[in-house]
């Protein structure tokens, strides 16, 4: 199953949700942000190399608490990457590992569209603020146009009483709130997904619930 984690606005926590959701699903997480990568990388081949035909997707996988297909950080790499090859790359990783979570970039360009087009399920990440919701709505429209079934909306960094019914009505999908927690914020940098680092915490329960919802939607 290929799961695209998207959402119009940057900075709402798409990468954090993708990383922790991948941990909960025991999946590979792919850093699909070709221009501004977020997930950990080292010196091996990256998604840029895969999309430029210089490496196999399976060679570029980086082991860790969550297996990551990292993305390069150079503009030249981003320019050489052919995003229409992303579908094949994701399918190759899916064949080897079962479930793939793609961390999509912000915006509505082809690098969001291609993962949505090949995804079996989409998770939209929204911040509990009205302006962020408008962008999420645009991404929902894009997902609908590209036939990516919307599995759930992750309302990220919720502090108090999230507007769950409003979001559910606007976006037309089940809403899971992820409470604001510094352990979630640190999870990528320290490579400690919250479901492993703090399995009894509220955020861990939220990601587990999100993962169950995604699994149901994929069936």
């Amino acid at each position: 199953m290929i799961v695209a984690v998207a959402g119009g606005k940057g900075g709402v926590g798409k990468s954090t949700v993708a990383y922790n959701l991948a941990a909960a699903l025991d999946a590979v997480v792919v850093d699909g942000d070709l221009g501004m990568a977020n997930l950990p990388a080292d010196h091996g081949p990256t998604l840029h190399d895969v999309l430029a035909g210089r490496a196999d997707a399976r060679e570029a996988l980086r082991p860790g608490p969550v297996v990551v297909l990292p993305c390069g950080r150079s503009l030249a790499g981003a320019r050489a990457a052919d995003v229409s090859a992303l579908g094949d790359a994701l399918t190759a990783v899916e064949r080897g590992h079962g479930t793939v979570v793609v961390d999509c970039p912000a915006g509505l360009r082809a690098d969001v569209g291609v993962p949505l087009a090949v995804a079996d399920a989409a998770v939209l990440v929204a911040a509990p603020e009205p302006f962020a919701l408008a962008d999420t709505l645009r991404t929902r429209e894009l997902a609908r146009e590209l036939d990516a079934p919307l599995a759930a909306v992750a309302l990220n960094r919720v502090v108090e009483d999230p507007p769950v019914p409003t979001v559910r009505d606007v976006l037309g999908a089940p809403v899971k709130s992820v409470p604001a927690d510094p352990r979630v914020g640190r999870s990528i940098e320290q490579e400690e997904p919250v479901v492993d680092a703090a399995p009894d915490s509220d955020p861990a329960a939220a990601f587990a619930a999100l993962a169950r919802r995604v699994e149901q939607a994929g069936k």
Partner: protein, 226 residues
């Protein structure tokens, strides 16, 4: 299915237009083949050819009782006819992949080329470029070549050896290239200094090589530590 076409040639490229009319009461899928002696340059959006186009032709659906207009370029001289109907059949499903359609519709994600050129220039400041190395190799008074630390010495020795072996004409040319008789005298005195410097370098390299052979990191005890 009716086909009208026009063709027009400019700068070695033929521009072909085709107009397909479907008089039937059902949608029809048509395959048009290019008859010119060259590949098709199809219409593109965001660098992706429009749906249905490939190197040899185009497959399109003409709605019932309606017409469709198409055009392409081909780097070949005109010939008659430039384009022909290959097959007509019932309109079927589109085989195109979603990813290709998404790239065409949504636009390029890539950073513009101008940004790239700027970052390349700043990158070049970090190290010497190929052209800089070439100038140091030809001008013997400059800093030594990075790739070959002995290049400067080698050039001087080779020049002097060439002077010894050369005939009158070549020797004159070499003299002129090396700053006349004064230049060659300076070259001769610097050769002695070169020899001394090279022997010092060789001795230092020898000592360092001996030390490199003798030295071993305490891997075992470090492994216990980590």
């Amino acid at each position: 299915m009716d086909l009208d076409w026009t063709q027009q040639s400019a700068a070695g490229v033929s521009l072909v237009t085709a107009r397909l009319r479907n008089e039937r009461a059902t949608d029809r899928q048509v395959r048009l083949e290019n008859c010119l002696d060259g590949p098709i340059l199809p219409p593109r959006r965001n660098e992706v050819p429009e749906a249905g186009w490939d190197r040899d032709g185009v497959t399109t659906v003409v709605p019932a009782g309606n017409s469709v207009a198409l055009g392409y370029a081909c780097p070949a001289p005109e010939s008659t006819p430039p384009v022909a109907i290959d097959s007509v059949g019932p309109a079927g499903d589109d085989e195109e992949t979603d990813a290709v359609a998404a790239v065409r519709e949504l636009g390029d994600h890539r950073p513009p080329r101008e940004v790239l050129a700027a970052s390349d220039e700043s990158g070049e400041l970090d190290g010497p470029t190929g052209t800089e190395m070439k100038t140091t190799a030809s001008e013997t008074d400059h800093a030594p070549d990075i790739d070959d630390p002995l290049a400067e010495f080698r050039t001087r020795v080779e020049t002097v050896e060439a002077l010894r072996a050369a005939g009158v004409q070549e020797a004159t040319d070499l003299l002129a290239a090396n700053g006349g008789i004064a230049g060659v005298e300076a070259l001769a005195s610097s050769l002695d200094a070169d020899a001394a410097q090279l022997r010092t370098l060789a001795a230092a390299a020898e000592t360092l090589a001996d030390r490199a052979e003798a030295a071993t990191p305490p891997t075992e005890s470090l492994r216990r530590l980590s």
